[in-house]
């Protein structure tokens, strides 16, 4: 069987880097995003560089009723799915505008969880598959600066962890990715510490290696694991007074 990967939210910098990384290893690539026009140049580029089969598919993470039809229309049930769907949103706006907050919660948690849940059912029926979810260090502990986004990512992390537990005795593997800072469109203009900031290519390499080595939860820059461990174990009386 030729291998294939479905990439949800394929217009992001991380998704694009992952598409190249998997294509480099001969995977057929299914790019899915709301704006398929923007995917056209990637389809040509990936096919030209890596000589693999690449297709683009319209996918809206907020259109839950359309999920099943979207999966049915794919050329095949993919061997691997990578979910890179997500929006940072604006914390201040999320605090005052419930619609904006709902959009952040749905885009980062509800949509990604439900589509991966549907795929998990199909993977189970087939008996194999890899599910890779891009969550965030922001989901490790809620902070004042971005807790709406963080809460959604915490939910997504828990969902992935639960699925991993469920499929532990099968050939279905679930990887949770917590990239930390990545030099992408989302972080452009922010003054990020280069030691904590990964390039999209590094994230893609880490994700590819995680699938191969069947790792469970990965941080891209190793330092993040330590930072988040400390942040998680800080007593709440101390943590609540910090501004991280």
């Amino acid at each position: 069987m030729s291998r294939s990967i479905l990439i949800l939210g394929a217009n992001s910098d991380i998704a694009r880097a992952c598409a190249h990384r998997f294509a480099q290893d001969g995977y057929a690539v299914r790019l899915a995003a709301r704006d398929t026009n923007a995917l056209a140049s990637d389809v040509t580029d990936i096919a030209l560089r890596h000589r693999v089969d690449v297709t683009a598919h319209a996918f809206d993470a907020l259109d839950t009723p359309g999920f099943a039809a979207f999966l049915d229309a794919l050329p095949e049930l993919p061997g691997t799915v990578l979910c890179a769907v997500g929006v940072m949103g604006d914390q201040d706006q999320s605090q005052t505008d419930p619609d904006a907050a709902a959009r952040v919660l749905r885009s980062n948690f509800e949509g990604p969880a439900l589509i991966l849940g549907l795929l998990a059912e199909r993977f189970e029926a087939r008996g194999s598959g890899t599910i890779i979810g891009i969550s965030s260090v922001a989901g490790d502990r809620g902070r004042a600066s971005n807790y709406v986004y963080g809460a959604a990512k915490a939910g997504f992390t828990a969902f992935l962890s639960g699925m991993r537990n469920r499929f532990a005795r099968s050939d279905i593997h679930v990887v949770t990715v917590k990239p930390g800072f990545v030099a992408t469109r989302m972080t452009e203009g922010l003054d990020l510490n280069p030691r904590l900031t990964a390039q999209p290519d590094e994230v893609a390499d880490a994700i590819f290696a995680a699938q191969t080595k069947r790792r469970n939860v990965i941080y891209v820059k190793p330092l993040w694991r330590w930072i988040m461990t400390i942040i998680r174990v800080l007593p709440e009386v101390v943590f609540k007074k910090t501004s991280l």
Binding site: D13, A38, T44, D45, L48, R49, R185, E188, D191
Partner: protein, 439 residues
């Protein structure tokens, strides 16, 4: 954020925009001065401006014609990416500089040259066309037949005529990833120059030159020639997979070396070691393409050996006839100054290709100097010797040339500056370098 060129001098505070579509790029061209940047491998201030536009996310490959070898790609695609995709199919870059970590747009803007300049020309010789975004976001297709004025001013125009969006270049057919290398140990400058002339028919040639040697051995060099190996040239073990080369180690310099590491004594010791090591090697060998074309790429971030203060490169070309005298005067000035150059390269050029190309029939010398007062004090003298011998300077390496010296030695830039003013390009596209040089 703070950005610099590969020499890490100068550094400037800049706003770095990274557009991901043609429309996003066009929206940035609002009249204020800016400059496009690729991999940041120009040594000095060519790709630095208060508003700098990174082209690295406009890096799609668009089309490849296996009949003609024509590749169409966006400007942010790197030469490394081109090799990775096409060498396994039997295609290589027609011209490549000494690093594969440059973008297609940067290669066009600097009209880079390689070891085959004398035999095949500069990068521009293999550019069929490009799309150039000018003021207001208008896009112009430029080629040898279409908008040829703009085509000519852009090849080597240092990004000052607009922003190259995408280009069509011709790749070269190769039958393996290996190079048949011939090494000649030349005991002094005369021998080195004779070796270049004797082996002029070689496709690739360059020499590492020991700038620390004086007296009878002044200008001693290791001249290296190369030809793409055919499948039949390979040992039987490599013939089945002629494009697979056992890999580079990919070591990197993990931190800035302290300033004292590179001093006249360590430079002399290194050069002595390097000369003896190569002089002992067999004259004929088969080397992988990375070792032949990109020996320094094997050490990522090698610019850090010069420490925090950074370094500068001096590269000039001296025309044929006065070259021997000019090169001797330069080497003499360097050894008198005691500002030893760690890495020095000598190369024979063929005739000038495009209108603004740096190369001309003659010899080019590229020298690295740590950023010290001694080295800075030497530069005006090297400038003067170059000027006295009818030579000129390579802007992709430059961080300090005085404007007057450039305009006096290379009047093409006067016309270029006038053209920029007349076409209203000067306000929209400007780098720290173009401002320093009055372009």
């Amino acid at each position: 954020m703070q950005i610099s060129g590969w020499g890490r001098y100068p550094r400037i505070q800049a706003k770095l925009s990274t557009p991901r579509s043609e429309a996003a790029l066009a929206a940035l061209l609002d009249g204020g001065p800016l400059i496009a940047r690729g991999m940041g491998r120009a040594y000095g201030d060519s790709a630095l401006a208060a508003h700098t536009v990174s082209m690295l996310r406009l890096n799609h490959m668009i089309d490849f014609d296996p009949q003609t070898g024509q590749l169409v790609a966006e400007a942010g695609v790197t030469l490394q990416e081109i090799i990775t995709a096409f060498l396994p199919r039997g295609w290589f870059l027609s011209v490549t500089p000494g690093t594969q970590f440059v973008s297609l747009g940067g290669a066009i803007a600097a009209d880079v040259h390689g070891k085959n300049h004398h035999s095949e020309g500069a990068f521009s010789a293999f550019v069929d066309w490009f799309d150039l975004m000018g003021p207001g976001g208008t896009v112009t297709r430029c080629s040898r037949t279409e908008n040829k004025e703009l085509f000519g001013w852009t090849l080597g125009g240092m990004g000052l005529t607009g922003i190259v969006l995408r280009a069509a270049i011709r790749l070269k057919r190769v039958h393996s990833g290996w190079i048949r290398q011939t090494t000649i140990a030349a005991q002094n400058l005369d021998q080195a120059l004779a070796a270049f002339e004797d082996t002029y028919s070689a496709t690739y040639s360059m020499a590492w030159i020991d700038c620390a040697a004086t007296g009878d051995t002044m200008g001693r060099s290791i001249v290296m020639n190369g030809e793409h190996a055919l499948r039949a040239d390979l040992p039987a073990t490599h013939r089945a997979r002629p494009f697979d080369i056992p890999g580079h180690s990919g070591k990197s310099i993990p931190f800035d070396f302290p300033g004292f590491v590179l001093n006249p004594w360590s430079v002399r010791a290194f050069n002595e070691f390097y000369f003896r090591m190569n002089a002992r090697k067999p004259a004929q060998s088969l080397v992988g393409w990375e070792n032949f074309f990109y020996p320094l790429d094997a050490v990522r971030d090698w610019n850090r050996i010069y420490g925090r203060k950074g370094f500068m490169q001096f590269q000039c070309v001296v025309p044929l006839d006065s070259h021997a005298e000019g090169l001797r005067a330069i080497l003499d000035a360097i050894s008198r100054s005691g500002a030893g150059s760690f890495l020095a390269v000598l190369k024979r050029f063929g005739a000038q290709d495009s209108r603004l190309s740096f190369p001309m029939e003659g010899y080019t010398l590229a020298l690295d100097f740590p950023m010290t007062t001694r080295a800075l004090a030497l530069m005006p003298e090297l400038d003067r010797i170059t000027a006295d011998h009818g030579g000129r300077f390579y802007l992709a390496k430059d961080s300090r040339l005085p404007a007057q010296t450039l305009l006096d030695t290379d009047p093409r830039w006067q016309k270029f500056a006038a053209m920029r003013r007349q076409k209203g390009l000067a306000g929209q596209f400007a780098s720290a370098q173009s401002e320093r040089l009055g372009l």
